[in-house]
Symmetry: C2
Subunit: 139 residues, 2 copies
């Protein structure tokens, strides 16, 4: 069951334009943690007028409004996740795939404060080898 895209945006106080809905839908339907460029390449054939700047602007907007997660998993480019609920990520060191995994950082680590620090967010990032790659050498 795919959540209603428009109401998801409205819930996050984002006005649901054509482009914004397409990008949000893409992230909700594709759990591959795509880059901005991957999103652009996928949507450009569907919305021929779409510009890459709009993809960047929209992702920034969606992240600011909490509708999308920006992952710092990739050294090269930012990656985005339409699933904002608490979860961890796994990056395969061989094929580079980034998978969602069902460990919830906020459950695993019950901290809101460490010393003087006020914690608002905990991203737990695993690296290793996925099932397809664990018998191969790293690239």
């Amino acid at each position: 069951m795919i959540t209603n895209i428009k109401s998801h945006l409205l819930n996050h106080k984002v006005k649901p334009s054509l482009q914004r809905m397409a990008i949000m839908r893409y992230l909700m339907e594709n759990k591959t943690h795509p880059t901005a460029d991957e999103i652009y390449l996928a949507l450009h054939p569907v919305i021929p007028t779409l510009s890459k700047t709009t993809v960047y602007n929209t992702l920034k907007l969606l992240v600011e409004h909490g509708a999308v997660l920006n992952l710092s998993v990739d050294e090269k480019n930012a990656r985005y996740d339409g699933v904002t609920k608490d979860h961890a990520h796994f990056k395969c060191l061989t094929c580079g795939a980034i998978l969602d995994i069902g460990v919830r950082p906020s459950e695993a680590i019950y901290v809101k404060n460490i010393g003087d620090l006020k914690i608002t967010e905990a991203q737990l990032m695993y690296k290793g080898y996925c099932s397809n790659c664990k018998n191969q050498q790293p690239q």
Copy 2:
């Protein structure tokens, strides 16, 4: 007490050239998780012939040999940590400071495998507000 730089490099099978020792020393003495550029700017006055390419090459080499950690905490540039033992990082959302904290991911999360995945590394990243910034608005 500052660990001997040269033996640290030798332990990691890195030949201790002048430039490599200077970069390694900088990382061990400065726990600020500097970027490549910050390292270059700090060392260039001391080693006038130092080139930025050497800083990049050396950091890459040190990371490959496990002498330095590459953090994916910053969206913009890579950040490096001379402390390679298991620990977590905290990024202040106001001032951008990245602090080491004494939570050890591998202690906090006792996993070597999740499903089919073979875990070799777990980076736990906290975000929030540091003691200096927690009463201010985010930038």
